[in-house]
């Protein structure tokens, strides 16, 4: 699992060229040039396919009513923020942003705390009932949330969590995947340091907090990012548990905006940009953690 993780895509080195380029013929140079051009052409093609829709949408969100949004030119001649203002006038978008931030941040923090506590115990301590606990956490990974969604709603309702952000947060506050990642991280630490700390008289709690936890910062980062992004992007569960439009998270709110209030594509485009730009910035700032997370979580998916 971690063997996959250490191989982040950008860490691959170019195989150093064996020392036989002296006799490289002109034909082979030409072949190489063609090869490179084809590759970059293909890359550009895929770029248009995968980034194009975002760019197009971003351009549309900046176009005023006078500009056609059907032309091949995605970029506005006279960029305007009017559409963003229109979003704020139609739905309580700042409230939605706040709700999404609360939900995503709480989910990240809670997953880090709960999963590292559980992961540490499962990795380090032998105790009666461990196999049962293992099976329980494994079951939470295997059972898709969609299967139990209706019953989770009933449980949340009897706990008084309907229409509250707590109700959005709690079911995913300690996912099986987070626990698995932390458990794997702690298992791969050398035991000796903790044993030394124990001889020095450190308590279990100190060993966990001062010795083990600082050594798994990378995995904590992965857990935090994945929990944050998942919570920010999630649609189905907030849609189920939140009833009052003033409590919506951003994803539900944006869908509400386009479904209920407006067919003005410029405004919808502005709404989607509000929901996606913060995440794209986060991603480009912290990309290596995202890729590492796919490695650690990919086994489960």
């Amino acid at each position: 699992m971690s063997a996959v993780a250490t191989r982040t895509p950008s860490s691959r080195t170019t195989p150093s060229r064996p020392d036989r380029p002296r006799r490289r013929s002109r034909a082979s140079i030409r072949r190489k040039a063609v090869n490179y051009s084809v590759r970059y052409l293909l890359l550009a093609f895929v770029f248009v396919l995968l980034a194009g829709p975002f760019i197009w949408q971003f351009g549309t969100s900046l176009k005023g009513p006078a500009e056609s949004i059907f032309t091949a030119n995605p970029f506005p001649v006279a960029p305007t923020a009017d559409n963003y203002v229109a979003v704020a006038e139609t739905i309580p978008v700042f409230r939605y942003i706040g709700n999404s931030l609360i939900v995503a941040t709480s989910s990240a923090v809670l997953n880090c705390i709960f999963a590292s506590l559980a992961g540490y115990v499962l990795a380090r301590i032998r105790f009666r009932g461990r196999t049962l606990v293992d099976i329980l956490f494994l079951a939470t990974i295997i059972i898709p949330f969609e299967v139990i969604m209706v019953s989770v709603f009933l449980t949340s309702r009897s706990l008084g969590l309907v229409d509250s952000l707590m109700g959005v947060i709690l079911p995913a506050a300690a996912t099986g995947l987070s626990i698995l990642i932390m458990r794997t991280a702690f298992s791969s630490l050398p035991k000796e340091i903790e044993e030394a700390a124990m001889i020095d008289g450190a308590s279990d709690w100190q060993r966990f907090l001062r010795v083990a936890l600082p050594s798994v910062k990378g995995s904590l980062m992965v857990v935090a990012i994945f929990a944050f992004v998942f919570a920010w992007d999630d649609f189905l569960w907030p849609l189920v548990i939140l009833k009052d439009p003033s409590n919506y998270t951003l994803t539900v709110g944006i869908q509400y905006l386009s479904g209920t209030f407006t067919s003005n594509q410029r405004v919808v485009a502005a709404g989607t940009m509000i929901a996606v730009l913060p995440l794209l910035l986060l991603f480009f700032a912290l990309q290596r953690w995202f890729f590492r997370g796919v490695g650690e979580g990919g086994i489960k998916g």
Partner: protein
Amino acid sequence: MKAQYRWLPWVFLAPALAIALIFHIGPFLNTLVLSFTDATTLGGGTFTGVENYAALLSDPQFWTSVRNTLLYAVVVVPLLMLLPLLLAVLVEKNLPGIGFFRSVFYSPVVASMVVVGLIWTWLLSSDGAVNRVLQALRIVQEPLPFLTDTSLLLFSCMLVTVWKGLGYYMVIYLAALGNVPQHLHEAAQVDGAGGARRFWSITLPGVRSTMFLVGLLGAIASMKVFAEIFVISSGTAGPGGQARTLVYTIREVGLGLSGEIGYASAMSLALFVLTIGFSILYLRSQRMEQTR
């Protein structure tokens, strides 16, 4: 020292275990029980035996959902097994700027399905970019009704699922490609094997097990499709709700106005059986691989 190990693990485990029990294990058992009752959101719930399951068998809405969900897997899984692999091969080599391309190709994964769905709803509308391109290339005369025709709507959603998933599986394949021995490629090159030949004879066998894994992940994801359908059809699942998937129907039946919890629970277990079925198929195929 030993004595405190009786309670210490449980203190550490308590929060995670509580969430697992309250929000996962408990509801799963509850779903099992409720599926044999006629419970609704308003309460009630007398034991009705296998009545819900019997009703499922003759419910056209259920079968439409199952058919669409399976169709989804049949189309999406092969595409997700192949296209991201080609993409990974494309970005594998260390060219200048390749890190930038990898990141951009991954960016749809980061976006919410709601955002992606709304963007594509716009691109696929009757005067949207896709229809304009198709018309400009003289492939079609009239704009295609991507969003209003049931089959085309389903197809559009599949396209969106694949589009959003490409980057994720690309990264999984990149890790696998790193484990394909480079010397095999070099040896084949010396023997005069071209790119296509090497892809077929070296790359494909090298990432075989990863392909199976990607297939499984894609199949499970297909079983859970909801947001694409909901967003792209603006919450209607197409004309007459004919483009519905299982999760769409479960939500509508169990959490909609009628709130037939018992019936929705039976449907949920059907979804569970499908999902687990793919995992079992996968494990079988893995075992056969090993005994080969």
